[in-house]
């Protein structure tokens, strides 16, 4: 178990992190979520020892973390941390050696990981000749080449297309199921809500929510009813419904937040009375809605404005 206890960090007069607690358990993929500038990267850098916290401690299995322990971890920084002119294989072997593997193991593991990530044919290619997505995978390979027990990835989904996101998600879930301690950060809350088991939400340097994703989404107490109409209905019909508020509204589709006591089927019947319904669904609030509720910006605030 990886623990960050009461971590505080200041840059000059600005407090970047204020008494933040994070626990990452083996087998539970954990997301560190929050808008840009919330303090996620600073927290990750403190976890991996690049920055020293002004207060608080980092422990692994209850013991203070040492530089020797961290060397066996895998860390991927937010930007592309690769040597552009180095051949792919040589680069990966170099990182494996720095992670403490002996020469033969380093090369063997490098070949295994590159094949796993679909870069097996690129061993001799210069890194800068790879596409953006391939470089992202190579960077991931540098963090995983030594089969680390602790994996810390800062915004690993940035710049990936949907296929890339799905592949990376599968890979991380496999590692997590195999018993690794995995923590990823992301500002795209809804992107990771189906990937993470546990999350810690950070806003303005403070931890605002933490727990299992399912529990957090259920804890808000409201549900979302999504309705698609065959034609645009008269917008006034919703205002007549008690306990239902509009979250999103387009010409022929609408999302309603329903209070706990409201029967969704009654609302569906009312909707069918104003226009033919072609599709509907009942959902828990998304993670960004949970986040907005938690930081008091209101569930009605359009999601895009904060999850830039």
């Amino acid at each position: 178990m990886l623990g960050l206890q009461n971590v505080t960090h200041r840059f000059g007069d600005r407090t970047a992190l204020d008494d933040v607690d994070v626990v990452v358990r083996p087998g539970r993929l954990t997301g560190l979520l929050g808008p840009n500038g919330a303090g996620k990267t600073t927290l990750m850098r403190i976890a991996v020892g690049v920055l020293q916290p002004d207060a608080g401690s980092i422990t692994f299995g209850g013991q203070p973390v040492t530089a020797q322990m961290r060397r066996a971890w895998g860390y991927m920084a937010q930007e592309r941390g690769l040597y552009p002119a180095m051949p792919v294989g040589e680069q990966l072997v170099h990182f494996a050696r720095l992670h403490g593997l002996p020469p033969q193991d380093a090369e063997r593991r490098a070949r295994v990981v590159l094949t796993e990530l679909g870069l097996g044919e690129r061993w001799k290619e210069r890194t800068e000749r790879l596409s953006g997505g391939q470089q992202q995978r190579l960077q991931l390979a540098t963090a995983l080449v030594h089969d680390p027990r602790v994996i810390v990835l800062d915004e690993p989904f940035n710049g990936l297309d949907p296929v890339g996101v799905a592949e990376l998600a599968d890979h991380l879930q496999a590692r997590t199921r195999a018993g690794a301690i995995v923590v990823v950060s992301s500002h795209q809350l809804d992107l990771v809500q189906d990937l993470c088991d546990e999350i810690v939400m950070i806003d303005q340097g403070r931890s605002v929510l933490s727990g299992s994703v399912t529990d957090l989404r259920a804890s808000v107490g409201t549900r979302r009813l999504r309705l698609s109409f065959a034609r645009t209905p008269d917008p006034d019909w919703v205002t007549l419904l008690p306990g239902a508020q509009v979250v999103e509204s387009h010409a022929d589709a609408i999302r309603l937040a329903l209070d706990g006591e409201v029967d969704p089927l009654a609302v569906l019947d009312a909707a069918r009375g104003v226009a033919p319904v072609v599709d509907f669904g009942l959902e828990l609030p998304s993670l960004s809605e949970v986040f907005m509720t938690a930081v008091g910006r209101g569930a009605d605030t359009p999601v895009e404005e904060v999850t830039v």
Binding site: V50, A77, E79, G81, A85, L98
Partner: protein, 392 residues
């Protein structure tokens, strides 16, 4: 301690591999080797000192004149050859046509010399003629053969020329060592600065710092880039040095060897002093393009040291400016090797300069590793030195 070096070696080896794989590095190294070779080969191809001076005489020149000229020319390291001239043509005509360089008229009353010829040989010839005729007169006056020989052995005082340096050839090598040191330190310094800035701006440094201590990354990078610089220096210096040794261009090869050994020592000391400062400042950048401006303070010090070395150090090695700047860092690594080649520097000054440079290097390396460690992880904008030193 073993792992500290083992990991530092990994960093150093990577820097050397990447650097030496670059086409630009290979081309520059090849060119330097060619220039080093050319420095020696070209002058000896163009050299005109190989031809002996041809002395023409009409009829058989007196054996004693020939003997005297041969003996004196031999001791002055001048080669002469003797040519018997055509009796019909005038000596002037034969010199003008290039048959000989110097011609002695039949009655020994005239020496004809090709214009532009080094005056040494005609002077020797004249002295020999005068000596021979004086000896004949003295014998007529009734002096014995011993007395005549004694008179002829009276010698003019030896003339000694004095410049700013004891040996101009050695001083010139010292001057060139100064130029090479300056270029090498600048090239390696900027190479280190660029390597550090690249590692910082693409955030490799951040990942590396989870596995390495800042000191390992700093020292490994500096040593790797410096080794590449040393190889380039050797690519230039080895052919030049071998050529100089083979052609015997230096009268005092032993002193020159000591000077070169000292130059390598100063290169290492200069690297310690300057490259750590370059690395520390480069760790403050946000973009690689800021490297030049952020390292300007160190480059300026290096340029200033170079200017002092080639002016005061070479021109007035015993002056106050040269003496002080050759002992004190940060000018010592460039001024002392140039000044040392004058052959006039007491050993204690050399030792003092080295000790002071080592002490200054330790201080700079300590400061640099603090700035470097903090600069590397501070991102978002270019940092100032003051800000990095203040935090923590």
């Amino acid at each position: 301690m073993r792992t500290w070096w083992a990991d530092t070696w990994l960093v150093m080896r990577r820097a050397m591999r990447e650097g030496s794989a670059a086409r630009s590095w290979r081309i520059v190294t090849g060119l330097l080797a060619l220039v080093g070779l050319a420095v020696v080969v070209v002058p000896s191809l163009l050299g005109d000192d190989a031809d002996p001076v041809r002395i023409g005489t009409i009829g058989e020149a007196s054996t004693s004149v020939r003997g005297d000229v041969d003996a004196w020319a031999g001791s002055a390291d001048i080669e002469v050859s003797w040519v018997t001239l055509d009796v019909e043509a005038s000596p002037e005509e034969q010199v003008r046509q290039g048959e000989v360089d110097v011609a002695l008229a039949p009655d020994a009353t005239q020496i004809v010399t090709r214009s532009g010829l080094d005056p040494a040989v005609p002077t020797l010839l004249a002295q020999a003629v005068v000596g021979q005729e004086t000896a004949a007169l003295l014998a007529d006056f009734g002096l014995s053969a011993e007395q005549v020989t004694a008179l002829q052995q009276v010698q003019a005082p030896e003339q000694v020329e004095v410049g700013p340096a004891r040996d101009p050839g050695r001083a010139f090598v010292g001057f060139m060592v100064g130029v090479a040191l300056y270029l090498a330190l600048l090239v390696v310094g900027i190479g280190v600065a660029n390597a550090v800035a690249l590692e910082k701006t693409n955030r490799i440094a951040e990942v590396l710092l989870t596995m390495l201590r800042p000191s390992q990354l700093l020292v490994g990078t500096v040593l790797g880039v410096a080794t590449l610089g040393l190889v380039q220096l050797a690519a230039f210096a080895l052919p030049a040095g071998v050529g100089i040794a083979v052609n015997d261009l230096l009268p005092d090869a032993g002193a020159a060897l000591v000077d070169v050994a000292l130059a390598i020592t100063w290169f290492v000391l200069g690297l310690l002093l300057y490259t750590f400062a370059f690395a520390a400042l480069a760790a403050l950048v946000e973009k690689v393009s800021e490297v030049n401006s952020v390292t300007t303070p160190v480059s300026m010090v290096l340029v200033a040291s170079y200017v002092v070395a080639v002016t005061a150090g070479a021109g007035a090695p015993q002056g106050a400016v040269a003496t002080i700047t050759s002992i004190l860092p940060p000018t010592a690594p460039l001024v002392m090797p140039v000044r040392w080649a004058s052959g006039l520097v007491p050993v204690w000054q050399l030792v003092l300069a080295m000790v002071l440079t080592v002490l200054a290097s330790v201080a700079v390396a300590w400061l640099a590793s603090r700035v470097y460690a903090r600069g590397l992880v501070g991102t978002g904008r270019r940092q100032s030195l003051r800000e990095v030193m203040r935090v923590g």
